[in-house]
């Protein structure tokens, strides 16, 4: 019988990595990683697990699962969890600051010095082309996500409902996600589990 009091699962933290090292490592990752949080997560794994061997791979994967499960910037979530494991609360703070600081300064520099150039005709044409490429990116992301998630008519229905919410002008797009989450809780099926649901439906 369970006699022990239920306690939250403690995340064991080691203090073998100093905060300064953590900061500089995450600063480097934050400075040299282009692309989204997923790319950064890959680099973090390379640095922390493979190169420096500060963490085990399963630690990393656990962190990654949670970081992508919870809302928010994935890179920051990852920095928090891994920093925490390396040096507790101080480690998590220092890892986050290290991750964010480089991009903060780079963007400020661009805003200060490059912004006036935006109206230059060649630069403007370049940026316009970039902006159009981003539209292509969005379309591609829609294609990839659609392929992965729209495999049952129920999922399609949830998608339509969420779209209906999103197109209403003035409504903040997050509501579409909330609505989809709620509807999805009742209707949706994870890929690979369709058979289970169908079987349940057939049994009287």
């Amino acid at each position: 019988m369970e006699q022990q009091k239920k306690q939250p699962d403690a995340v064991p933290s080691t203090d073998l990595v100093g905060c300064a090292s953590i900061f500089f490592t995450f600063f480097r990752i934050g400075l040299f990683t282009l692309g989204g949080g997923l790319a950064m997560a890959t680099v973090m794994r390379h640095e922390l697990v493979l190169k420096r061997k500060w963490l085990e791979d399963h630690d990393f994967m656990d962190a990654f699962s949670l970081a992508t499960l919870v809302p928010g910037v994935i890179a920051v979530n990852m920095a928090y969890l891994q920093g925490r494991r390396l040096h507790g609360k101080a480690g998590s703070a220092v890892a986050i600051i290290g991750t964010i600081l480089p991009s903060f300064f780079v963007i400020l520099l661009i805003a200060l010095f490059a912004l006036p150039w935006f109206s230059h005709p060649v630069v403007a044409a370049f940026l316009r082309g970039c902006a159009i490429a981003v539209a292509g990116q969005l379309a591609f992301a829609g294609f990839v996500f659609g392929r992965r998630h729209l495999h049952t008519w129920r999922n399609g229905l949830v998608c339509l409902a969420a779209l209906a919410v999103a197109v209403v002008p003035g409504v903040h797009p997050v509501f579409a996600v909330v609505v989809a989450g709620v509807l999805g809780y009742f209707l949706c099926v994870e890929r690979g589990r369709e058979k289970e649901t169908n079987a349940e439906e057939e049994t009287p």
């Binding site: 699962d9 928010g72 910037v73 044409a125 490429a133 591609f140 989450g181 809780y185």
Partner: protein, 176 residues
Amino acid sequence: MQMLWQLFKSFALIGLGAYGGGMVTIPLIQHAIVNRHQWLAFDEMASLLAIAQMTPGPIAVNAATFTGFRIAGFAGAATATLAVVLPCILIMVLVAPFMDRIGRNRHVRQAREGVQIGVLSLILYATWSYGSMAIHNLLELAIGLAAFLLLLLFEGRLHPVLVILAGGAAGVLLLG
């Protein structure tokens, strides 16, 4: 001060809605910055989003820093950047001790699929709402399609930065 608070609220919401990758933040940013508050014109936001992907750092954070700076200088940049990361930090602080159990929870998994479909719907919506503003004629549509096809062809193996740069090059050659 009022402006800083507005910045804070808007980007906190954007930070909260940033789920499933950086692309979903685009409609959130467009809604808050261009439509609702008119802090930036669409073209400026679009340039910013492109640059935000070509510079280090998550797109949401870069967008926050940039917009905040444009609106309210250094204080604005700091406020917006802090706002966009604060929600997820708070959530992590609360949730991290229960890491294992949350991932395995059946209800969470069930809702997660729905949430991801919500993200999909936003991306589809954004393809239209962003695309229709960024593309003004057939030539530009062709460039957009080319970007899409490039990504499709080299699925997974092409760094998004390269596609954006290619788009920029096409812009200089064809749109200048």
